[in-house]
């Protein structure tokens, strides 16, 4: 699914050069459940952005589903994001003026899918996430847990192979956080490759594979024996 070789990404912060990622090698198989932890500035988010094709490495190579991504043009990268990658963010990133349904269907809309087909695809997700009676509401009228579920529905409606979650429970209370994690893990059990970036040790302990990052390097790569 994912193969990184010598991926390096530097940032210029004023006078200082900061190593976001420092020659990272990583292989992730389809269906894996990864948690990435580490202190602030250790490169977790940079790794996530590069895996999600939101950012490109300065050097090194990244293969997604066997396709080398370094030389891809912007249109093809957008297409890959649209087709194979779903994102879930800490602050949800819903569009406030759109209803829950419109937010969920936005990726399909951008991909040019007919309204009838959009409804057909989103209906089971909506039911599963218990959003049936909130569809006409705008994000401002939803609770945090509901917003994150809308965001998950949006990420899943294109049936991606890889779900990248950046602190998905960071803005949620423990109960809605637990529900969101349960949901993500359920999707993972159905074959979705799940990568969660988190500060939360409890959350990371649940993952089948844990990466610890420091100063742009993966310093620890642990696999937990399935319980």
């Amino acid at each position: 699914m994912i193969r990184l070789r010598g991926v390096t990404r530097c940032f210029q912060l004023g006078e200082q050069r900061v190593m976001g990622l420092d020659a990272v090698d990583l292989d992730v198989a389809a269906g894996e459940y990864l948690a990435v932890t580490g202190p602030s500035g250790s490169g977790k988010s940079t790794l996530l952005n590069i895996l999600g094709l939101l950012d490109a490495p300065d050097s090194g190579e990244y293969w997604l589903r066997g396709e080398a991504t370094a030389a891809l043009d912007e249109v093809r990268r957008a297409e890959l994001r649209s087709r194979w990658i779903g994102f879930v963010f800490q602050s949800y990133h819903l569009i406030p003026r759109l209803t829950a349904r419109e937010n969920i269907e936005l990726p399909m809309l951008l991909a040019g899918i007919e309204p009838a087909e959009r409804q057909r695809r989103s209906a089971p997700l909506i039911e599963r996430l218990g959003l049936g009676d909130r569809l006409a509401h705008r994000p401002g009228e939803l609770s945090g847990g509901q917003r994150q579920r809308v965001a998950i529905a949006r990420a899943m409606c294109m049936q991606p192979a890889l779900l990248l979650a950046d602190e998905p429970t960071g803005n949620l209370d423990s109960q809605s956080g637990g529900e969101v994690v349960a949901l993500l893990e359920e999707l993972n059990r159905e074959g979705l490759t799940l990568l969660v970036v988190t500060h939360d040790a409890q959350l990371s302990d649940r993952a089948g594979r844990q990466l610890l990052m420091r100063d742009g390097k993966v310093v620890e790569d642990r696999r937990r024996e399935p319980a």
């Binding site: 950012d55 957008a78 994001r81 990133h93």
Partner: protein, 403 residues
């Protein structure tokens, strides 16, 4: 992305920023209104003035005593002519085969009085034919009787305003008035009509030309109106008139002939230039609207960085992002332009009702205002929209505090 969905997103974004959208709508609207209104005014002035000349009729020639070497424009109203135009000259012109009718003209200021009311009035000595040539209508009574040019008679037709001033509310038809040292009976009252070719018929006293000659004690004519039998006779008619007068004036070519064409040509050019200049000035306001669109789109792009980042994360291409912002600006410009066109037409309509002035914006003004509004919107939104399109999703998605 399907067109209907793109439209939905544009409309949603515009509704989502209502006050901003209304402001832009207003700016574009005002620009388009300005273009329409000012070109309407210019065109109105043009049609008005051309209409004034058209009253003269395309077949009518004005014969003035005196030779004036001009390529166009108006010869001086007064001027020392080497030889007067006489009534016999007018009669000779009237006998020409290409001439339909002729009206000699004698003019002057005369003191007119009825009882103890008196005032100065511009007095025209002319003939029955003058009413047909200048398309004058009488509201009461009749026009001057058809007389020989040299036959004097104590009758007159007066303008509506002069009638009010002299007779008040009393009936005027059949009454006598005094003009200079003579008396005339009122046989007709002119229908109301504004000024025409600089003559205010409302305040005019019209009497037979022979009567005017004795009243003013002057033989020479002020001018002669000659209506030809058709526009195709214009050139030959001119030549015939000139030849006739030369023959009668012992070989002197001492008249000036003015046709509608010469006057129109001079005025039409000037007036069209005026209209274009007004349109140009108005177009500047559209340009200002365009710059406003750029600024607002720029602000909008900054405010919606997170949205742009998200759109890219969920698979929008740069082209799609650019399309979203360009579409919003274009839609606004279109709505503003249409609103402006409607408002402009409404104002022109109101102006026509109020002032009885032919205020019509030409079709090209509306079309070019619309086109210009769309073009400026696209042009000025392009830069900020491209910035949005070029934005790295990772930069756009970073939380506000970190930016």
């Amino acid at each position: 992305m399907r067109a209907a969905d793109a439209l939905g997103l544009w409309l949603g974004a515009l509704r989502g920023h209502r006050s901003r959208s209304l402001m832009l709508l207003l700016a574009v609207g005002i620009g388009v209104v300005a273009v329409n209104l000012l070109t309407g005014l210019g065109e109105g002035a043009r049609t008005y003035i051309l209409g004034e000349f058209a009253v003269l009729g395309r077949n009518t020639l004005i014969v003035l005593p005196g030779r004036k070497e001009t390529s166009g424009g108006m010869p001086p109203i007064t001027g020392l002519a080497p030889r007067d135009l006489s009534l016999q000259d007018a009669q000779a012109i009237a006998r020409l085969p290409s001439v339909l009718r002729v009206a000699p003209l004698q003019a002057g200021q005369v003191e007119v009085s009825v009882g103890n009311r008196n005032r100065e009035a511009f007095t025209l000595g002319t003939s029955h034919e003058f009413f047909a040539i200048r398309q004058l209508q009488v509201s009461q009574g009749q026009a001057l009787p058809a007389l020989h040019f040299d036959e004097a008679r104590a009758v007159c037709v007066i303008g509506a305003k002069l009638r009010r001033e002299l007779f008040g509310n009393a009936p005027a038809l059949g009454q006598w008035l005094r003009a200079g040292d003579r008396r005339f009976r009122v046989v007709g009252i002119l229908a109301e009509r504004g000024e025409s070719l600089g003559m205010d018929f409302g305040e005019m006293l019209i009497i037979p030309v022979a009567s005017a000659q004795t009243l003013f004690d002057r033989e020479g004519l002020f001018r002669v109106f000659a209506e030809l039998r058709g526009p195709h006779l214009l050139a030959s008619g001119k030549a015939q008139i000139r030849a006739t007068i030369r023959e009668r004036h012992e070989g002197e070519d001492d008249i000036t002939l003015i046709g509608q064409d010469a006057m129109l040509a001079a005025f039409a050019d000037i007036l069209r230039a005026l209209t274009l200049a007004l349109a140009g000035i108005a177009a500047i306001s559209l340009l200002v609207a365009g710059i406003l669109i750029m600024n607002v789109t720029w602000i909008s792009v900054s405010q919606r960085t997170a949205e742009i980042g998200l759109l890219k994360a969920i698979g929008a291409t740069s082209a799609q992002v650019r399309l979203l912002f360009l579409g919003e600006a274009t839609l606004l410009a279109l709505a503003g332009a249409v609103a402006g066109l409607l408002l402009g037409e409404a104002l022109l309509w109101a102006g026509r009702r109020l002032w009885d002035f032919p205020l019509y914006a030409p079709w090209w003004a509306g079309a070019s205002a619309l086109g210009l509004a769309l073009l400026t919107a696209l042009l000025f939104a392009w830069l900020p929209a491209s910035r949005a399109a070029a934005m790295q999703p990772v930069d756009a998605l970073r939380p506000q505090a970190a930016r």
